[in-house]
């Protein structure tokens, strides 16, 4: 029924997430595939630069089946605090929760957990919103909860290109602690229907409670502030003034202010549309808002998708990796002209998929080159992708960061739509120092998801968070990594655990990973 827009609708399904599923201390990779019959891949890190796909044996391969949907991404977290990373696979279809049995095999516990829900989802995150030590689950929804393979109507598209509200309803599930989850979406007030593509969570306003930041397609971003675990309050925070097409949200300390800022990718296309990416500085403490400072090169990454902050050269400042490109098909046919006919028109011209001009074999922002932005101070954020060897023009979707060889480097893993995945091995400046932390929660969730680490070393002050899912359909290495530049010591580390515990470490050893367990009292 919607063959004319099929390339568009079916172009959002490539993800990668990082987890040490076998507990051997090395980050492993899980890629999902959004084609019926095609397997997902669980790559175990052998530690010698090679990987082996164990998805079939683990029971995580064959998840793209008619009647159940196709995988759009996965997010890992130890929801039972048993010391093993479990995984939620979100699909255009039913959610699927898998319990890690022994580090090799997984059991589908979706129904028992009360998560057997059809959600056309492109994102999910783990967070402990009520600080009870158990990971809760927030799932974003894109299309409303229809079976896209058995449509009763073609009126399935967005009702505005910039202020759409007819997407699927995001869901928040409270972890009850007995292997079951409870839908608390309405009770907590987080059921946005704005075509959310991505979510990230952190304590943006410093009140000790994790908030939720949403990147919404066809609409403005949203920030839900956590009111002491009792409810969330949707706040404007300066986000309402620019309606755009949010594709991903990455969290990082952009200017070493000791804050977590947000980078949200959007769409830019020569002549047609400059929606511009947003680099939003967190000014929640002093001004209750985020301030967009994206100018120049960083504002335009083409049709941006996944993005992540990371200190790739270990100089003590974050760089930014952005994947991009939507549909790379016939180079001679460009759908942008067709898109421009309906994009500005009244909603009834495009809410019905049947009225869209046929895609055929046209490209839409295809063959775009990934970006690597480095902060040059006065010159702003400058793209150095070609100089550092990032040259692919695949249709990038998810970007995840991990130190695959545990050597103090931030490798980049990119999942591409209909194209091979790419791993960029990072070669940081060898004269620079670094430090990494492996956190284990006790009063907090064992994965330590949501723990924020503030590093202070002389004039360097930088904050990072243990990732429960961010970017677009991705999740980073749960270990946190800091570059130190020429600094040969760290003055102190302040860890804000999700439980509320504050832990201070003085002068930890550098150039290695430091294991930290949360104090039990």
């Amino acid at each position: 029924m919607i063959r004319n827009v099929e390339p568009h609708v079916a172009a959002l399904g490539a993800s990668v997430s990082v987890a040490d599923f076998d507990g051997d201390g090395k980050p492993d990779l899980y890629f999902t595939n959004s084609r019926f019959g095609e397997p997902n891949a669980l790559y175990r890190n052998r530690g010698d630069g090679t990987f082996e796909d164990l998805a079939a044996a683990a029971g995580l391969a064959n998840l793209n089946r008619p009647g159940e949907g196709v995988s759009m991404g996965a997010v890992w977290g130890d929801f039972e605090n048993d010391g093993r990373e479990d995984v939620l696979v979100y699909r255009y279809g039913y959610l699927a929760l898998f319990k890690n049995i022994d580090g090799r095999h997984f059991q589908d516990v979706t129904v028992q957990a009360g998560l057997h829900r059809w959600v056309n989802s492109n994102g999910a995150i783990w967070l402990d919103y009520d600080r009870d030590g158990l990971l809760d689950l927030y799932v974003t929804a894109y299309f409303r909860d229809i079976d896209l393979w058995h449509l009763g109507t073609t009126k399935i598209m967005h009702n505005s290109f910039e202020f759409a509200t007819n997407g699927g309803k995001n869901l928040l599930f409270h972890n009850l602690g007995n292997g079951k989850f409870e839908d608390v979406t309405d009770k907590m007030g987080v059921g946005s229907t704005r075509w959310s593509l991505a979510a990230a969570s952190a304590d943006f306003n410093g009140d000790g409670w994790p908030d939720i930041y949403l990147a919404n397609d066809y609409g403005p971003e949203e920030l839900y502030l956590n009111d002491h675990g009792r409810r969330f309050v949707l706040t404007t925070a300066g986000l309402e003034s620019e309606s755009k097409s949010g594709m991903a949200v990455a969290l990082g300390d952009a200017f070493n202010r000791g804050r977590l800022d947000a980078f949200v990718t959007n769409i830019s296309e020569r002549g047609y549309l400059f929606q511009n990416n947003n680099l939003r500085l967190n000014e929640m403490l002093e001004a209750h808002r985020f301030r967009n400072v994206a100018e120049g090169e960083i504002a335009d990454a083409g049709w941006g998708w996944g993005a992540q902050f990371g200190d790739f050269n270990n100089d003590g400042a974050n760089e930014l990796f952005v994947a991009n490109g939507f549909i790379s098909a016939d180079r001679e046919k460009n759908y942008w002209y067709s898109m421009s006919k309906i994009a500005g028109a009244n909603a009834r011209f495009f809410e019905d998929a049947a009225t869209w001009p046929p895609f055929g074999n046209a490209s839409l922002s295809g063959y775009e080159r990934s970006r690597v932005y480095i902060n040059r101070g006065v010159a702003g954020w400058v793209d150095v992708a070609a100089k550092v060897g990032v040259t692919d023009v695949y249709d990038g979707r998810a970007v995840a960061l991990a130190d695959l060889s545990s050597r103090g480097a931030v490798d980049v893993i990119v999942a591409n739509q209909n194209q091979p995945a790419v791993v960029y091995r990072d070669y940081p400046d060898s004269t620079n120092h670094w430090i990494g932390f492996t956190l284990v929660g006790t009063r907090s969730n064992r994965s330590a998801i949501g723990a924020e680490v503030l590093l202070e070393s002389g004039d360097l002050k930088q904050r990072r968070i243990v990732d429960g899912g961010s970017g677009f359909a991705s999740q980073n290495d749960r270990r946190v990594h800091f570059g130190l530049g020429a600094r040969e010591w760290v003055d102190r580390i302040v860890i804000s655990w999700p439980s509320g515990t504050r832990q201070v470490l003085l002068h930890p050893p550098i150039d290695r990973f430091v294991a930290v367990t949360e104090p039990t009292r």
Binding site: N159, S160, F161, E162, F163, E240, S241, E242, S243, S268, E269, R270, G271, Y272, L273, F274, Q275, N276, N292, A294, E295, G296, E297, I298, A299, D300, E332, K333, N334, W336, Y337, S338, S340, K341, I342, A343, G344, A345, N346, A347, R348, F349, F350, T355, W356, P357, P358
Partner: protein, 290 residues
């Protein structure tokens, strides 16, 4: 007597009196009101400005350029209302890469200076905003796009602007231009869709968008650049629609046009047809009937 009675009643009607007295006003006041209304609605409902600095900059450059050039050209500062209209129009239409402000300054300067430089028989040939936007799109497509905020694709906003726009177009005496263009657009693009075997709705959809609202109410009806006489005005409106259809046809066929033509075919059609029509009009003298 029998004819006099309805006239008297009509003249007693305050709406009619206001309408008649309004029609004696400089049409730019009505146009300025409408463009301000569009701006206010768009900002209050959709925050479409992004930032107020671009509005301030566009207005400042337009009015300063107008004041300066009119002083040099005529020895006095002219009414700055048309500079105000150009400034607002540019603020609404220009969407720059990365939040850059320079397109508003350059656009404002191009718009106003075109009135003083590109002249024929003491008349300027291009609608200033149309000239500036077309020039920016042609010269800097990597840095400038047009109206990426779409007023929410919302029928209510559409209706408000269309209703006010049509009323004011009638007051200013240019309603026939708007109606002719819209009718021609619908007819010609329906024919184009049929000729190319394309679905009809996407081809007529653009006319419901905000870019076209600004086009039909502020550009092709600009009192200073339209030709004289109702018949000529109708003819030119049709020719603009024809040119736009040809541009769209070329885009459909994938012919290698500059991006500006694919992005804003109506603006480019007016930029091409309008000045030629005006030039002929100025050469031919005033028509016998208006």
């Amino acid at each position: 007597m029998s004819d006099a009675t309805p006239t008297t009643i009509a003249e007693r009607n305050p709406f009619v009196r206001a309408w008649k007295s309004g029609s004696k006003l400089d049409p730019r006041y009505s146009i300025a009101f409408l463009i301000t209304l569009v701006l206010v609605v768009a900002q209050l409902r959709y925050h479409m400005l992004g930032s107020y600095d671009r509005l301030v900059l566009a207005l400042a450059v337009c009015t300063a350029t107008e004041a300066l050039l009119s002083w040099f050209d005529r020895g006095k500062v002219v009414n700055l209302l048309s500079a105000y209209i150009s400034g607002i129009s540019l603020t609404l239409l220009i969407k720059p890469q990365g939040g850059a402000l320079w397109p508003f300054a350059v656009g404002g300067f191009l718009a106003i200076s075109s009135k003083y430089v590109l002249r024929y028989r003491d008349n300027h040939l291009w609608n200033p905003t149309n000239f500036a936007v077309a020039a920016l799109l042609l010269l800097a497509p990597d840095r400038v796009s047009v109206l990426s905020h779409q007023f929410g694709n919302d029928v209510t906003t559409n209706l408000v602007i269309w209703v006010f726009g049509l009323v004011i177009a009638a007051r200013v005496g240019v309603l026939h231009i708007t109606v002719t263009y819209v009718a021609s657009f619908l007819l010609l693009n329906s024919l184009r869709a049929a000729a190319l075997g394309q679905p009809l709705l996407p081809e007529i959809a653009p006319i419901t968008g905000p870019m076209y609202q600004l086009f039909v109410f502020f550009m092709i009806t600009d009192p200073r650049t339209i030709v004289r006489g109702r018949r000529r005005q109708v003819l030119v409106a049709i020719l603009i629609a024809v040119m736009e259809t040809l541009i769209r046809f070329a885009s459909d066929k994938g012919w290698p046009l500059p991006t500006a033509f694919n992005v804003a075919p109506a603006f480019l059609a007016l930029a091409l047809v309008g000045p030629i029509a005006k030039w002929f009009d100025l050469n031919k003298g005033a028509p016998s009937t208006r």
